[in-house]
């Protein structure tokens, strides 16, 4: 299990306007592409010096492919990264603060202590 890699997906997609739209429209294909082409890139290095060992487990891959943000919360993905990216993708479909409110409601079953987000 790799909370780090979940966070890396959210982080790298969130900062790229093109990837934000691609993940919104084609989540499963984007996750597959990202895992094969992007997951092992060290962000400050050129691609000839990529890592060789990073991959999602099935639960993580499915949570991302299904846009399942409650599941990402349960898995310990960083809540700020998840929230920021999902606002970017879906706020536009709701009235003001409507998406944020629904987001909170869909997480209402989560009680303290929340899942550990340490990586």
């Amino acid at each position: 299990m790799s909370k780090y890699l979940l966070n890396k997906f959210l982080f790298t997609v969130d900062r790229d306007p093109e990837l934000v739209e691609r993940y919104r429209e084609e989540p499963r294909a984007t996750v597959e592409w990202w895992e094969s082409e992007y997951a092992n890139r060290i962000l400050g290095s050129h691609t000839g010096e990529s890592s060789t060992w990073l991959r999602f487990d099935d639960v993580e891959r499915e949570a991302l492919a299904a846009h399942d943000y409650p599941k990402l919360f349960e898995l310990g993905a960083h809540p700020f990264l998840t929230l920021t990216l999902f606002i970017a993708m879906f706020e536009r479909d709701y009235p003001p603060l409507g998406f944020q409110t629904e987001y909170a409601q869909r997480l209402s079953h989560m009680k303290l202590p929340y899942p550990d987000i340490a990586t």
Binding site: Y4, N7, K8, F11, D14, R15, P17, I42, L43, G44, F73, H78, P79, F80, L81, T82, L83, T84, I87, A88, L97, Q100, T101, Y103, A104, Q105, L107, S108, H109, M110, L112, P113, Y114, I117, A118, T119
Partner: protein
């Protein structure tokens, strides 16, 4: 030696810029009162006539990332670009540009490392809304050089609260021993109770008004000891999952000093957060 002419601690609400500049139907009902409070708070800095601003904040996974995460980092650069694409997208924040006070950055790094804080540094730092928000609220003309200092309140394992207080004390000592005749304001921003990406987010108030009440009391009375006796890395999960940003307020309490009452205190109860504004004048009220 340099003089610390003001110590300022504040929340940084990324929606202030948009709320304060919106007009007509887009202007939220709470904007006018919020602007009045911020302008009164701004006056507390203006009155101190600073030459240089030391700005304490926290990168929100913008430039700093989990493959290389510093706990405390000092920017040392002649210039800083500011605000990121996702802050323009979500908050409508403008791109900004700052001049750095590079000699003070060097001094804080050298002396801070020698004093026992192994500070990281950056020679090319793009700063985010934790520092640009207080510039927008407190110094919108953005005409003063800065030293940005980042803390990790975001990516565990985090330093403990006492370490933030210690760093604040050290920053105060270092600025006061800086061989310069500059007038320095030390400004830091954090949060009271806050939830982001969790079930308690975006409620009608901050997620834990009782914590907020106690926090304002600790800060405004300079009760570092009382604050440290109750606040731990574990306890900060209870008021809201992003409440570790309160440790930047604790850092600023360290800057201001134990038992030092704030000279200016104001709060504003908004949806989602309690806004809070504090100013101390170490040399007396100007």
């Amino acid at each position: 030696m340099a003089e610390v002419v003001a110590v300022i601690a504040s929340t940084h609400h990324p929606f202030y810029y948009r709320a304060s500049t919106a007009t007509g139907e887009d202007r939220p009902p709470f904007a006018d009162a919020w602007v009045r409070k911020v302008e009164a708070f701004r006056e507390t800095l203006t009155r101190a006539r600073p030459d240089v601003l030391v700005m304490v904040g926290s990168d929100h996974f913008h430039q700093l990332w989990l493959d290389n995460m510093p706990q405390f980092l000092v920017g040392k650069a002649p210039f800083y670009d500011a605000n990121f694409y996702n802050e323009e997208r979500e908050f409508g924040l403008p791109r900004m540009f700052f001049t750095g006070q590079e000699d003070l950055s060097s001094y804080i790094l050298r002396e801070g490392i020698d004093a026992g804080f192994d500070l990281a540094f950056s020679n090319e730092l793009r700063i985010d809304h934790s520092i640009t928000c207080p510039i927008i609220t407190l110094r919108p003309q953005n005409d003063l050089p800065i030293v940005p200092i980042y803390t990790n309140i975001f990516a565990p394992p985090l330093p403990r609260p006492s370490r933030f207080v210690q760093l604040g004390r050290m920053i105060r000592q270092l600025v006061e021993s800086w061989p310069s005749d500059q007038r320095v304001a030390i400004i830091g921003t954090g949060h009271l109770s806050l939830e982001l990406g969790g079930p308690r987010q975006f409620g009608p108030h901050g997620p834990d008004p009782e914590f907020d009440r106690k926090a304002v009391e600790w800060i405004s009375t300079g009760d570092i000891e009382g604050c440290l006796s109750e606040v731990t890395l574990d306890s900060l999960h209870l008021p809201g999952n992003a409440t570790h940003g309160f440790m930047d307020f604790m850092l600023m309490m360290g800057v201001a000093g134990e038992g030092r009452k704030a000279d200016y205190v104001d709060t504003y109860d908004l949806f989602h957060t309690m806004e809070a504004y504090f100013t101390w004048y170490p040399g007396g009220r100007p």
